[in-house]
Symmetry: C2
Subunit: 392 residues, 2 copies
């Protein structure tokens, strides 16, 4: 009797272990980065609950995340070059590797099969299988003049057609990497895009790759529908502009808000949100705001943009009506209001408040807070709906 019972018990315990994972949909889940402790929390946006706390993810300052196409796995890019695949239904780290010395972000390919990381050190892009993080391709950046180092890579995004776009900080280039054949990446290099590209974004339709420049005013625009036309400079006063100002923090470009045919973007160093007509990339308005904007995020319907600010104004959030271009609400949720993420259909926005160790949830109709969740020094919030969006 002992032997069958033992077998039963072993079988039972294996089932019990499996039962610690959740059987549930993933469409309403997300994660928040806890930067100081190198951990994340898994969030349920329907019940406004924390489902899991996952530790030992390395240095998560400036960390970002993308999702597998099924929404179950988050790929987390740490500043220390760490790449972690996390199972948000089980609350476990599936695999973690330190793939570079200093990484600045990543992307997942259109078909979900490839995860790419842009590195400062060694400068270049590494591409891994999303299945097991095994290496697929390594794309070294242009060597610097000393012949030893290579350019830092920044602004890595996915693009339609199984492509990635990335910019090279030191050498002023944008590269489009076609991964249709994973064994033979096809790279198209655009040089002289402008001085010291520091970040980039791709428009939600995946057409325009826009790079911010640290070394000069203006932005570099590459139309991925017509790459043969090459990059061109737009918004030639974007940056420090005619009067030079101290810049406390370069704004995040992925924080561009697109509402209808207009883009709302953070001015560099100025207390302004700029409004640009995307049909000809002309500036149509400047909206005076509370501080130096960091993220300018559009509610998914484009009717509002929410703005947070650099230190010393990072205790404040403002909401702008995109039609009247008026500020409709200014409030102080707490010091270190670092990041905002809208639920996919826009009824709520979740805001990380670092110095209160909490996430605050706001109803975007009433503009009132409805919930609060605990998190240790929270920064970036990433919902699984990003799995379905180009460039996020």
């Amino acid at each position: 009797m002992i032997r069958p019972l033992l077998v039963l018990l072993l079988f039972l315990s294996s089932l019990t272990a499996a039962a610690e994972c959740l059987t549930r949909g993933t469409g309403d889940l997300g994660i928040v980065i806890e930067r100081a402790s190198g951990s994340i929390k898994v969030l349920d946006t329907t019940r406004h609950e924390v489902l899991f706390h996952i530790e030992e993810l390395g240095d998560l300052s400036h960390a970002s995340a993308v999702y597998s196409r099924d929404g179950r796995y988050a790929f987390i890019f740490g500043r220390d070059g760490g790449l972690s695949k996390v199972d948000i239904l089980c609350g476990t780290i599936v695999k973690r590797l330190v793939q570079g010395g200093n990484s600045i972000g990543g992307a997942i390919s259109q078909d979900g099969s490839l995860v790419a990381v842009s590195n400062y050190e060694p400068g270049g892009v590494k591409i891994f299988s999303s299945e097991d993080l095994s290496p697929v391709a390594e794309i070294p950046a242009t060597p610097l003049e000393d012949g030893e180092k290579r350019s830092k890579t920044v602004g890595l995004v996915d693009a339609p057609g199984q492509r990635f776009a990335v910019s090279l900080y030191d050498t002023g280039e944008s590269w489009v990497i076609d991964m249709q054949d994973p064994k033979a990446p096809a790279i198209r290099r655009f040089t002289d895009i402008g001085r010291l590209p520091y970040d980039a974004l791709i428009t939600p339709d995946g057409r325009y790759y826009i790079t911010g420049l640290f070394g000069q005013d203006g932005l570099s625009l590459l139309d991925l529908w017509y790459p043969e036309k090459g990059p061109r400079l737009i918004l030639e006063n974007y940056g420090k502009g005619e009067e030079k100002l101290p810049v406390y923090k370069m704004p995040h470009l992925e924080g561009w808000a697109i509402a209808g045919h207009r883009a709302f973007l953070p001015a560099v160093g100025r207390h302004e949100v700029l409004v640009v007509d995307m049909s000809d990339w002309s500036q149509v308005a400047r909206i005076p705001v509370h501080g130096q904007p960091v993220f300018v995020m559009a509610r998914p319907d484009g009717r509002q943009v929410w703005v947070n600010y650099a230190f010393p104004d990072n205790d404040t959030i403002q909401v702008i009506d995109t039609e009247s271009m008026q500020i409709v609400k200014t409030f102080q949720p707490g010091k270190g209001a670092l990041h905002m993420e809208f639920t996919p259909r826009g009824e709520e926005v979740w805001i990380s408040i670092r110095d209160k160790d909490e996430i605050q949830v706001y109803d975007t109709r009433t503009l009132e807070q409805t919930h609060s969740l605990p998190a240790e020094k929270p920064s970036g919030i990433f919902f699984t709906s990003r799995a379905h969006q180009t460039g996020l």
Copy 2:
């Protein structure tokens, strides 16, 4: 020894029953309606596999579906007034009720808490809890002159701000139903929108509610950002137009394709796709096509639109390049090419081929077929990414 063993076995069997459900992400799943057999299949879009076959869903001709915000549950609206909540992780019907005599579609509220159904008989909208399908509100349509019947309701969609929009076929109205307080629906009624509205759509940003008119030319446009301005007639020649033509099938309006600032829409009765500038709703082009278009669907990046046709041309699909407005491919996948659904980031399109009892999958870059899946007389295909989109 018998009693504990029995308890163990019972516990084991309960675990085994639970284990029949899948522990996996829902972001890459979908369903296909099998209209003749009143069944659906659950689809895995990553592995191109059928996961479950679910029967006894009633009359599924013209059936449609929406998803819970977690992506786990599909709400299926049958022509027979059936409303079914299906668990796509377990392959089971959670609940099914026949809520009306003849229903024409449904929607899920912005926050995912409410499911609404528009009925022909009795004419009106019924609203249910998405949790257990318990009744929440009943909104009867305007009575007809005979005093007995009420207007049929059509073109029901969700809108931002926890609202629904619906049109009344017999009385020529559009209603906006605000469900912020579920116990007290606030209804705003717009009369004289045009004769015999038969279907409607909401633009992906949730701003414009556009109703097709069976009884006259033109379309009714309601700007939900400024409802006080009321509806107005746009595209005044839209419909049969100056030369009257036989119409084999009124096109589906939810098949409007929006690419940048342009909409591509099926002409009524004509072998044409119309191109409209959404900034002023003027017609900018007519593209000659193979037959009377039914669905005109944009690839998510807006670079292509795919078109299928009414009988006798329903064996053909055409692909239009939205920049050149040229047809780049015409092919015959089989008779009864009824519905097309793009994967959320656009790398594939899945097409129901009724008379071949299969779904064909195409790579949207090469325009070649890559996979085939079995399905019995398939019609509508609905992927879980719709959970994150307004109006789908």
